[in-house]
């Protein structure tokens, strides 16, 4: 093979393997100048959004490793985090201590939610993704029941600013002024005009280290084995069901903390809506970063968050320039989020069918030379 063909080969392999991020880069390169935003503005936006969203997207990695696909159930963790924030706000505890207290009290709830989700998903093997999606909707209903009817009535809320005028149920929007940006500004740093949330990035870095280290432990290794072939793992003595549940519990806890970090940056809790798009946007970002349903790694997270949110920020203005309406840009970015998930799942399903056919041939009855 000549050097030229080898080069072409490598290029085409790299290209095809990373079709999605490349498509995205092309899209963004096209749309960004249209939007009219300055580079400075965009860089600041990306730094902020990286700090705000990376933790959530990182929480998706472990279930993919365990072969359970895209965990739309992270919304259960998000809701747990929100309940933690409601209580902390109720008790009037502000600042970083309030934030960590919210994480602490939300943790047992997140563990319970994760355990529940894990059990449900174990009973729906082969359909984990759609089950986690619908489970997310179901628990959302329960969450609304609790927050809209039970809080204030059966669960006493003493901070009347939180409660609806009718006397019970939490308000639609809660100003988190005590907690606002408390983590982000904990260690202030300004590079030129760009303000960098150092403490948040430190937390994200710690999580990345944890995930890297976790991959080297027996539990992480077992998870990978389970993710590739449950039957073989079971035969070798690995407790498959337990391992899967642990993966989901960890994912849910991380999503819980991720949502708290997200909300402290935004500064407002939309009690009934903040968590609506959590799963969709996190999953879309991860996929845009080059991950697939069966394989995801830490670089996918950061590349994905930057690409996804660049598109997100740029779309409305680009839409206005191109089509005369910012709404079109907004609809476009939602379409891209759902479309990329649809595309990834189709590719994954199609590949899996092909792989199964190929495996069938290579294991048994090889044709004689």
């Amino acid at each position: 093979m000549t050097k030229k063909t080898r080069f072409k080969d490598t290029v085409s392999r790299v290209f095809i393997g990373n079709v999605v991020p490349i498509m995205f880069i092309v899209l963004i390169v096209f749309a960004t100048p249209l939007s009219g935003f300055s580079t400075g503005y965009l860089v600041q936006e990306m730094v902020t959004r990286l700090g705000r969203n990376s933790f959530l997207v990182l929480s998706l990695l472990l279930p993919i490793m365990a072969g359970m696909g895209l965990n739309f159930g992270i919304v259960l963790g998000a809701m747990s985090g929100q309940i933690g924030i409601i209580f902390v706000t109720n008790w009037g505890i502000s600042g970083v201590s309030g934030l960590f207290l919210a994480m602490a009290i939300a943790t047992p709830l997140a563990v319970l939610m994760g355990w529940l989700a894990g059990i449900v998903l174990n009973r729906a093997k082969g359909r984990e993704m759609v089950t986690s999606l619908i489970l997310g909707f179901f628990i959302n209903g329960v969450y609304q029941l609790v927050v809209l009817y039970i809080m204030g009535k059966i669960i006493p809320i003493k901070n009347s600013a939180l409660v609806l005028s009718r006397g019970y149920g939490i308000r639609n929007a809660i100003d988190l002024k005590g907690m606002r940006q408390s983590l982000d500004k904990l260690i202030p740093l300004n590079i030129g005009d760009i303000s960098v949330p150092v403490a948040t990035f430190i937390l994200i870095g710690v999580l990345c280290l944890f995930i890297w280290w976790f991959g080297k432990t027996k539990l992480g290794h077992d998870m990978r084995a389970v993710g590739q072939d449950m039957a073989v793992a079971e035969d070798s003595g690995i407790k498959v069901e337990r391992t899967r549940i642990i993966a989901i519990i960890l994912s849910t806890i991380l999503a819980c903390y991720g949502q708290i970090i997200f909300l402290q940056n935004i500064g407002t809790l939309n009690t009934y809506n903040s968590h609506d798009q959590t799963a969709t946007f996190a999953v879309a970002a991860l996929l845009i970063g080059g991950a697939s349903v069966a394989r995801a790694s830490i670089p996918n997270v950061f590349v994905g968050v930057v690409l996804f949110h660049l598109m997100f920020v740029v779309a409305p203005m680009a839409g206005k320039q191109l089509m005369g309406s910012a709404m079109i840009g907004e609809y476009f970015r939602v379409f891209v989020s759902y479309g990329i998930i649809a595309l990834s799942i189709v590719l994954y399903a199609w590949k899996r069918l092909k792989e199964r056919e190929r495996a069938r041939r290579s294991l048994r009855g090889a044709k004689e030379p």
């Binding site: 432990t217 070798s236 690995i238 048994r364 090889a366 004689e368 030379p369």
Partner: protein, 538 residues
């Protein structure tokens, strides 16, 4: 070999499955460093015996077993495969149990990794210990070295050729220091000629290092090459135990297969030696996992009952499955002289062939539907029977009454025990389900009927009924029947000619009156210095 007590001693093993005796008073010994060949047809009891040795749950769930198993003189009763592993027994199955995305090292040490403590383990438990990859690699390397093959411990299993995968599996079993006895079940089935040689050499090395080996295969040449002793099982009993040097292939083949049962005599057959060919098969190949057909050429004569036999996995089941389009196939098949389009089930049915599959529950039946649907369906779809054309043929309306009537007809003709034509197929017994499958094929009124394993999983009483139904159908309607079966006796009792398939090819065709030895020899694989095909007898 040595004077010590045997490593493994199985004594008086008897096992029944729901009243069916599959093992009767089987005893065998294996000594350290010895290679024991275990030979038998399928159904002889080899798998059951190994399942007992391994403590597979299916044994306990079906009433356990009688007899004793002892390792190094101590009685053992394994409740699950992990107990057997701990006692030093390993098994390499036919289906690989490997994780494709892991390296050889990771697979060899799967769930047996070398671990190191760290800070977190004290708090969160032992599963958070970190993997000692360097140590693991060293162990894997040693294991591979012991086998005498060249495999890099860092290769991904998914990128290995089939032979290397087999060796990785083997390496996994032997890396355990406590490994004493290794059981291999048809290990060369998926290997090329040269890979098989390397494997056999490795096994000899292992034996030389003190590991005992039980080697299950039907390729008698391999048995002669590396086994020290041979145990032959037939119908659940040990028919002979002999040192390799004291026997030859012919004797082993005969013992494996032979029975003293009367074969079908020419007088009882209605087949009048008419040699008009109805189906001709030319260089057929079929890609059916586990039953690959490589190159089959044969001719079926009109009105005969043609049998196809052979050991499991050799390809006999692939022949009808390929002709009827259920699995990818190639080659040339003609019916009544006209070529049949392969890979086309509808075409095969339309041409006048029908098939009763060996996979009754998987392919043969709609378990959740009524039995009248099951009987009528194929005829309805392939030949537009049981339909009423409406609006000038634009709409084909299902005629439920006609379906019910045909079901009643066959219930009577085949004596099917059921509560009514609307009973769901899954509620019937195995024998009655098989009759439904036969009725389904009869309803198509084919010129040629392929039947695979017609009496598999059916109790003795129903067996003869099913065979009788086939015989009657053949006599009354002159339908040509091609019957594939692993039970040689069954074939000898109703077939006019019997072909034996080995390694995906026809090894030979014999009359039912041929001796057990002749059949056995055809089944047990090519001999190194003989012709590849035995002369076919007419």
């Amino acid at each position: 070999m040595t004077e010590q007590q045997p490593l493994l001693h199985m004594q008086g093993i008897t096992k029944e499955y729901f009243g069916n005796r599959v093992l009767t008073d089987v005893s065998l010994d294996v000594n350290r460093g010895e290679v024991l060949g275990l030979v038998g047809e399928n159904g002889a009891g080899k798998s059951t015996l190994m399942n007992i040795l391994f403590g597979m749950s299916v044994i306990g769930q079906t009433g356990g077993y009688a007899g004793t198993v002892s390792i190094d003189g101590k009685d053992v009763n394994f409740q699950n495969p992990f107990d057997a592993l701990k006692a030093g027994i390993g098994m390499v199955h036919q289906e690989f149990s490997l994780i494709p995305g892991f390296t050889a090292t990771e697979n060899i040490l799967l769930n047996g990794e070398v671990l190191q403590d760290n800070l977190v383990t004290k708090v969160f438990g032992p599963r958070l210990k970190t993997l000692d990859l360097a140590e693991m690699r060293a162990i894997a390397e040693k294991s591979i070295e012991l086998l005498g093959v060249e495999i890099s411990p860092d290769t991904l299993v998914s990128e290995m050729p089939v032979g290397h995968k087999q060796f990785t599996e083997l390496a996994r079993e032997i890396h355990r220091p406590e490994m004493k006895l290794l059981v291999l079940d048809e290990p060369t089935a998926v290997l090329t000629e040269s890979e098989a040689q390397v494997l056999l050499t490795s096994l000899r090395r292992l034996a030389a290092s003190g590991i005992a080996i039980i080697f299950i295969t039907h390729r008698l040449q391999e048995i002669l090459d590396i086994c020290d002793r041979i145990v032959i099982l037939r119908d659940g009993q040990v028919v002979k135990e002999v040192a390799t040097g004291d026997t030859d292939i012919g004797q082993v083949a005969e013992l494996m297969v032979g029975r003293s049962v009367a074969a079908k005599s020419a007088a009882t057959s209605g087949y009048d030696k008419n040699t008009e060919t109805i189906v001709s098969v030319d260089h057929l190949w079929v890609d059916m996992p586990g039953e690959t057909v490589r190159d089959v050429t044969l001719e079926v004569h009109k009105g005969e009952i043609f049998g196809i036999g052979g050991l499991a996995g050799q390809g006999k089941l692939g022949i009808p499955n390929g002709i009827m389009g259920l699995y990818p196939a190639g080659g040339a098949v003609t019916l009544h002289g006209k070529p049949i389009h392969l890979n086309d089930p509808a075409g095969a049915l339309a041409a006048g062939m029908a098939f009763v599959s060996e996979d009754r529950r998987g392919v043969g039946l709609l378990l959740e539907e009524a039995l009248d649907w099951n009987i009528a369906f194929t005829a309805m779809q392939a030949q537009n029977k049981f339909l009423r054309p409406l609006l000038g043929g634009l709409i084909q309306w299902r005629d439920d009454k006609a379906i019910q009537n045909v079901a009643l007809e066959y219930i009577k003709a085949l004596d099917i025990k059921c509560t009514g034509t609307d009973q769901r197929a899954e509620e019937l017994s195995g024998g009655n389900q098989q009759k439904i499958c036969l009725a389904k094929a009869f309803a198509v009124q084919p010129d040629v009927l392929f039947v695979s394993e017609p009496t598999r999983g059916i109790d003795v009483g129903a067996k003869s009924l099913v065979l009788e139904a086939l015989r009657t159908y053949n006599r009354k309607n002159g339908t040509t029947i091609v019957m594939v079966s692993s039970e040689l006796e069954e074939l000898r009792s109703i077939c006019d000619r019997i072909a034996i398939v080995d390694e995906g090819r026809i090894a030979g065709i014999l009359p039912p009156s041929a001796t057990a030895k002749e059949f056995g020899l055809l089944m047990v694989g090519k001999l190194k210095n003989e012709e590849s095909k035995v002369e076919s007898h007419e």
